[in-house]
């Protein structure tokens, strides 16, 4: 088994680290967070240096890349600029859906823009009554006169929708009996008449806005449909696995950043006449944290490798998402403990990582939903 990255991957990661040191130093990420500002400048820098085209077809100006390479990018982003890592990860699912299911015209327009540094396409699934039970969504799309779609409804937690040019919007045909065969996907320009977007204040992700979206008689041309009518659920599920994995990889980077802060602090902070790192209870924490980081990284390496080798990862990806998002938060929480009062102060980045990473156990499918995906699959293996 060879754990080494390829030379190309290593060079790409050094290039990315250097880029982030230049364009997204910690002080700047902290400032953006405090001001609740989208990281426009780092995002543009990623685009200018070809990172936003990774995984996108060369036809649209991108550079093909495997899942592992994209995870590595998210990991490094997560370590040095977590909000940027989140935005990168959120972008992957909509990019892939568009690449796989959109028309050539839609692809050229949207993917070309993303490669140049437009924010990712937002994803509009969740509604006030439909969270974990995404199939409970009610937003409707009605074809009028075989010319125009008329859309009505409300979305919630639609991240990036107030900065994005488009929302990849899920709707439901109320007449279809089976909800999974009654959903459709649309490419909705956010400046369309009848769309109202309202950011929601939240605990973390201050540079990554999450909004409610109201849709009142929104009219879209027939060509705004992505893929096939009533095939939306299948299209959506096609790329959830990679999105969950890439977002998990960004959590590993965040945990490593917190761990490094904690280990450095343990060497410096003197109490009872000696560095707190001398106390075995602190050492125990640091060792446990280091083990978790190692496990998390190996876990996403393996799932990425499976995906790159076209193996199914139905329950594997859910278990990895569950483990990594939990363990990364535990590591950051322990780092806060090691930093004591300083870890809880706004002056230190630990509090931001703590606020930012906590939600990874909710978004993209909650812990409980990951158990629901994995549990039955595991049982099925042992059914006689």
């Amino acid at each position: 088994m060879d754990f080494r990255l390829t030379e190309e991957q290593e060079l790409l990661m050094s290039s990315l680290k250097e880029l982030l040191e230049r364009e997204a130093p910690e002080s700047y990420i902290a400032e953006l967070d405090e001001k609740h500002e989208f990281p426009w400048k780092p995002w543009k820098a990623l685009a200018d240096n070809g990172f936003l085209g990774l995984g996108i077809d060369e036809k649209y100006g991108g550079t093909p890349a495997d899942v592992l390479t994209q995870c590595l990018v998210a990991d490094v982003l997560g370590k040095y600029a977590f909000p940027v890592g989140v935005i990168y990860g959120l972008g992957v699912i909509t990019i892939r859906d568009i690449e796989q299911f959109a028309s050539d015209e839609q692809k050229a327009r949207v993917l070309g823009g993303i490669i140049k540094g437009e924010p990712p396409v937002a994803l509009g699934i969740s509604e006030p009554q439909a969270g974990s039970d995404a199939a409970g969504l009610k937003t409707s799309a009605v074809l009028e006169g075989d010319e125009e779609w008329v859309i009505n409804g409300q979305k919630i937690y639609c991240t990036l929708s107030n900065v994005a040019k488009y929302i990849l919007l899920m709707t439901r045909d109320s007449k279809a009996e089976n909800p999974y065969k009654g959903m459709s996907m649309f490419l909705l320009p956010t400046d369309t008449k009848g769309v109202r977007i309202n950011p929601l204040p939240k605990v973390g992700w201050w540079s990554v806005p999450t909004c409610e979206v109201f849709l009142d008689d929104v009219r879209l041309p027939k060509s705004a449909l992505v893929g096939t009518v009533n095939n939306g659920w299948m299209q959506l599920m096609a790329n959830f696995e990679i999105e969950r994995l890439i977002l998990s990889a960004s959590c590993v980077g965040a945990a490593e950043a917190a761990y490094e802060d904690a280990a450095t602090y343990a060497n410096q902070r003197v109490q009872f006449g000696q560095p707190i790192g001398n106390f075995q209870m602190i050492q125990e924490k640091l060792v446990d944290m280091a083990i978790k980081i190692e496990n998390m990284r190996n876990y996403y390496y393996k799932i990425a490798w499976m995906m790159d080798n076209k193996m199914p990862v139905r329950h594997e990806h859910a278990m990895a998402k569950l483990y990594i998002t939990q363990a990364s938060f535990e590591v950051i929480d322990d780092a806060m403990q090691i930093l004591g009062g300083m870890g809880y102060m706004m002056a230190h980045r630990i509090q931001r990582l703590w606020r930012d990473v906590r939600v990874m156990r909710i978004g993209g499918g909650t812990d409980q939903i990951m158990y629901n995906i994995a549990g039955p699959q595991l049982l099925k293996k042992f059914k006689k």
Partner: protein, 258 residues
């Protein structure tokens, strides 16, 4: 225009370990392109982008140079071709041997309009190799170059001195050592990194070149030592500024610093 850009691989300063006895260990060090040379590479690439032609990267040194990642690294930053003189006889080469080897390699490269180098090397920083190379080749040679333009077969350059900027017209070919503020080097994208593996690389050893005076060195290094590390004293001075200053003076004189 054809440009030769010289670069050096140096141990990554982050990986250099000072041992308790003061000796320096490079065992764990990854070898990377010297910072200062990145600006020379970028300047060469920008000139060729603006005027056409090609960039030939050139380096001489020990076996680390032949590392395949190191080769991709330099080529991912824009040069079209790579020429290396890899020979363990060049380990710890002084500036004279380095410049003489570069001159012998340049003689094999054919026509060129300009040779660019960095201002010095990130490990030794003698700032001599570029100047000696120009002298050996008998070409107009300048350091402290903060701007280069190519027009009508001549070079229009600016030289940043302490209190003034000299504007000079230099006939080609010439050897120029560029400053660190001449540009901000671009970062390699995945596209460039993937392309790098497919660009032509030519490797020579000392045996392939006619180096003037062979392996003779002009400088003998007796030893390299790191300054002694001392533990922090963890002394905290509090109180009014005047009293604190007095206390500080007290501590410093006790240590024999004052």
């Amino acid at each position: 225009m054809n440009i030769i850009v010289c670069y050096k691989l140096v141990p990554d300063p982050e990986d250099v370990v000072a041992k308790p006895d003061g000796s320096i260990s490079l065992d764990q060090a990854e070898w990377i392109i010297s910072d200062y040379d990145l600006m020379a590479i970028e300047a060469a690439v920008q000139l060729v982008e603006a005027n056409g032609g090609k960039v030939m990267a050139l380096s001489v040194g020990p076996s680390q140079l032949a590392n395949s990642k190191a080769k991709k690294d330099v080529l991912s930053r824009g040069p079209d071709e790579l020429y290396l003189v890899v020979d363990d006889g060049l380990r710890d080469a002084d500036t004279s041997l380095t410049a003489r080897t570069l001159a012998a390699a340049v003689a094999k490269l054919g026509e060129f309009d300009l040779i660019l180098t960095g201002e010095g090397s990130a490990d030794l920083y003698f700032q001599q190799v570029g100047m000696q190379l120009g002298e050996l080749l008998g070409l107009p040679t300048f350091n402290a170059i903060s701007k280069v333009e190519w027009s009508g077969g001549k070079l229009a350059v600016e030289r940043s001195l302490e209190d003034e900027v000299e504007a000079l017209e230099v006939p080609a070919p010439a050897v120029l050592a560029v400053t660190t503020d001449i540009n901000q080097p671009r970062l390699p994208s995945m596209k460039e990194i993937l392309k790098a593996g497919k660009k032509p690389v030519v490797e020579w050893t000392l045996g392939d070149l006619a180096v003037q005076d062979g392996l003779a060195q002009r400088v003998e290094v007796l030893s390299v030592r790191s300054p002694k590390q001392v533990n922090r004293k963890q002394i905290r001075i509090e109180g009014k500024p005047e009293e604190a200053a007095q206390a500080l003076i007290g501590h410093l004189s006790k240590e024999g610093v004052l």
